[in-house]
């Protein structure tokens, strides 16, 4: 039962162009969404997040869009750079009594930015 899905296992983009990574979720209780970037042999690195009360959050070259009615979010990277080549994970969580932040991850999208 995969509650967070990233249907594209890989994406190839030219340097300077826009990269768009997509994520769908099924659990309507999710109210906080995050994107992580992961290089081989390293842990996931937090990129950007968005609360369900917003539909857009921007941080430099990274913008996350949330469409709650469609249960869909996307990460836009513009302009894409070769150093952006990594696996990108979408994650979601719901508020929990007692603390904690149980992140449910998607399966990841391998982004390759080509020169």
């Amino acid at each position: 039962d995969q509650q967070v899905k990233q249907n594209s296992p890989s994406l190839s983009v030219q340097e300077g162009r826009i990269s768009i990574l997509n994520c769908d979720y099924t659990n309507s209780m999710f109210d906080y969404f995050l994107w992580y970037k992961k290089y081989p042999a390293e842990g996931p690195t937090f990129l950007i997040s968005i609360s369900s009360i917003k539909d857009k959050n921007e941080d430099g070259r990274f913008t996350v869009f949330l469409n709650k009615s469609a249960k869909h979010l996307s990460l836009h990277i513009v302009p894409s750079q070769p150093g952006d080549s990594a696996v990108y994970f979408c994650a979601a969580s719901a508020r929990q009594a007692g603390g904690g932040n149980k992140l449910t991850f998607g399966t990841g999208t391998q982004l390759k930015v080509e020169l």
Partner: protein, 119 residues
């Protein structure tokens, strides 16, 4: 000045052995986690501790026992290792912001992972 550090980075051991993975965070966070990434690359939560108290315990065999001696440390002990335990284990921490009875979520910071291979 590593934020979340876990040791060892690689661990190769035989079936049936008992092993531990250590994790420490110097971010002052009050919540720590263990996640497992299996061979299909699924990242799934195993445990979460808040102020040394277990608050999340997913369906994990009781051969896995987390121990939190203090807020900055969360170790994972695994008894009677099996071949299927081979995976990458990630420690993480986050800061919770309390809003009444619920906690607002903040981003989690991950360690570099421990690749466990059981032979």
């Amino acid at each position: 000045d590593t934020a979340v550090s876990q040791t060892p980075k690689y661990l190769v051991t035989q079936m049936g052995n008992d092993k531990s993975i250590k994790c420490e965070q110097n971010l002052g966070h009050d919540t720590m986690y263990w996640y497992k990434q299996d061979s299909k690359k699924f990242l799934k939560i195993m445990f979460s501790y808040n102020n040394k108290e277990l608050i999340i315990n997913e369906t994990v065999p009781n051969r896995f026992s987390p121990k939190s001696p203090d807020k900055a440390h969360l170790n994972l002990h695994i008894n009677s290792l099996e071949l299927g335990d081979s995976a990458v284990y990630f420690c993480a921490s986050s800061k919770g912001i309390n809003r009444g009875r619920r906690t607002m979520n903040t981003e989690a910071f991950f360690g570099q992972g421990t690749r466990l291979t059981v032979v």
